[in-house]
C-alpha cells in the first residue's frame, strides 16, 4: 500500500473490506478528532460526546464491510455519528418529531435570516471569544445547531451536509442562513451581557440576562 495516510477514505474502506484491519485504524486516526468535535458541539457535554463517538466507530466497524463505496464515505460517517447524537438528545428529554424540524418552511427565508447588521468590531478581539462562540452554538435548537456544527467544525460542503441530514441542499442552505442570523443575534446579546460588568451594577446585568434568556427561549420555541 503506497502512502496509506494519503489514501482516500473509500480506498481505506475497500482495504478494510478486504480484511486489512490497519486500514480501519487509519480511518479512526483520520476521523476521531473531527467527529468528537462535532459531537461535542452538538451535545455540549464531553462524556456524552466521547460515548457517541465511540459508539459511532463501533457501528462504522460493523457496517463498513457491507457498505457501498461508490458514494463518498465522509457524509456516511457523519450521518452515523449524528444519529448517535440524536439518540443521546432523545434520552435527555422527550424529543418530538417537530423538534427535529425547523418549524418554518425551509424554502422561505424568514425575517430572522435577513438580519444582516454587523457584529461589533471588537468581538473578534475578546479574550472570552471561544466561550461566546460555544454558548452561541449551544443556544441554537438542534436542527440549526447540527447544520452549524457540520459546517463550522466538520468543514463539510452544503451537498455533504444535505447527505448527512437527508435533506435537499437548498433546505440546508436556508437553514444555515437562518442559524447564522440567530448566532449573530445571540453573540450580540452575550457580548452586551458581558460588557456592563465593569460599567453597570447588578440590576442592569440582571435585566440584560433576563432579556437574553427570553430571546434564547424564543429561538428554541421558533424551532419547534
Amino acid at each position: 500500500m503506497a502512502a496509506p495516510t494519503l489514501a482516500t477514505d473509500e480506498s481505506l474502506a475497500s482495504l478494510f473490506q478486504g480484511g486489512d484491519e490497519r486500514a480501519f485504524e487509519l480511518l479512526v486516526d483520520r476521523y476521531y478528532r473531527p467527529l468528537y468535535h462535532f459531537a461535542y458541539r452538538l451535545l455540549g457535554h464531553a462524556q456524552d460526546a466521547e460515548d457517541a463517538t465511540q459508539d459511532a466507530f463501533v457501528q462504522i466497524y460493523r457496517a463498513l464491510p457491507a457498505a457501498h463505496l461508490d458514494v463518498p464515505l465522509r457524509p456516511w460517517i457523519y450521518r452515523i455519528l449524528r444519529n448517535r447524537c440524536l439518540d443521546v438528545l432523545k434520552r435527555r428529554r422527550p424529543v418530538s418529531f417537530a423538534d427535529l424540524c425547523s418549524g418554518e418552511p425551509d424554502d422561505v427565508i424568514g425575517p430572522a435570516a435577513v438580519d444582516g447588521s454587523p457584529l461589533p468590531d471588537e468581538m473578534a478581539e475578546r479574550a472570552d471569544l471561544q466561550r461566546l462562540l460555544t454558548e452561541a452554538i449551544a443556544a441554537l435548537a438542534p436542527p440549526y445547531r447540527e447544520v452549524v456544527a457540520l459546517r463550522y467544525t466538520g468543514d463539510l460542503q452544503f451537498g455533504e451536509i444535505a447527505d448527512v441530514l437527508g435533506l435537499p441542499e437548498n433546505t440546508v442552505k436556508t437553514r444555515f442562513q437562518r442559524a447564522k442570523a440567530m448566532l449573530r443575534h445571540t453573540l450580540r446579546d452575550l457580548a452586551a451581557r458581558a460588557a456592563p460588568r465593569s460599567a453597570c451594577g447588578a440590576p442592569a446585568r440582571r435585566r440584560l440576562a433576563l432579556g437574553s434568556e427570553r430571546r434564547r427561549s424564543w429561538n428554541y420555541e421558533r424551532a419547534r
Binding site: 480501519f24 468528537y36 465511540q54 463501533v58 473578534a124 463550522y152 442552505k173
Partner: protein, 76 residues
C-alpha cells in the same frame, strides 16, 4: 426558495459570522479516545476470530471421532 435565492446563498462570500466562527478552536478529544475505540473494535475482531478458531477445532474433533469410529467398524 427561488433559484435567485439559491444562487445568492451559494455565491455569498464569508461574512462577519463566518469569519468569527473560523476562529472557533477544535475541542481536543480525551487522550485515550482513539485507543478506546480501537480496543472496542479490535475486541470484536478477536471475538470473531475466536469463534472461527473454536468452530475449526470442533470440526476437527468431530472429523477425528468419525474417522476413529469408521476405522473401528471397518476393522471388525
Amino acid at each position: 426558495m427561488s433559484e435567485r435565492d439559491d444562487r445568492r446563498l451559494a455565491a455569498e462570500p464569508p461574512d462577519d459570522v463566518d469569519r468569527l466562527f473560523a476562529r472557533l478552536e477544535p475541542i481536543a478529544p480525551p487522550a485515550a479516545l482513539a485507543s478506546r475505540i480501537l480496543a472496542r473494535t479490535s475486541g470484536r475482531a478477536r471475538v470473531r476470530w475466536g469463534l472461527w478458531v473454536r468452530l475449526a477445532v470442533g470440526a476437527g474433533l468431530v472429523a477425528a471421532l468419525l474417522a476413529a469410529v469408521s476405522g473401528y467398524l471397518t476393522g471388525q
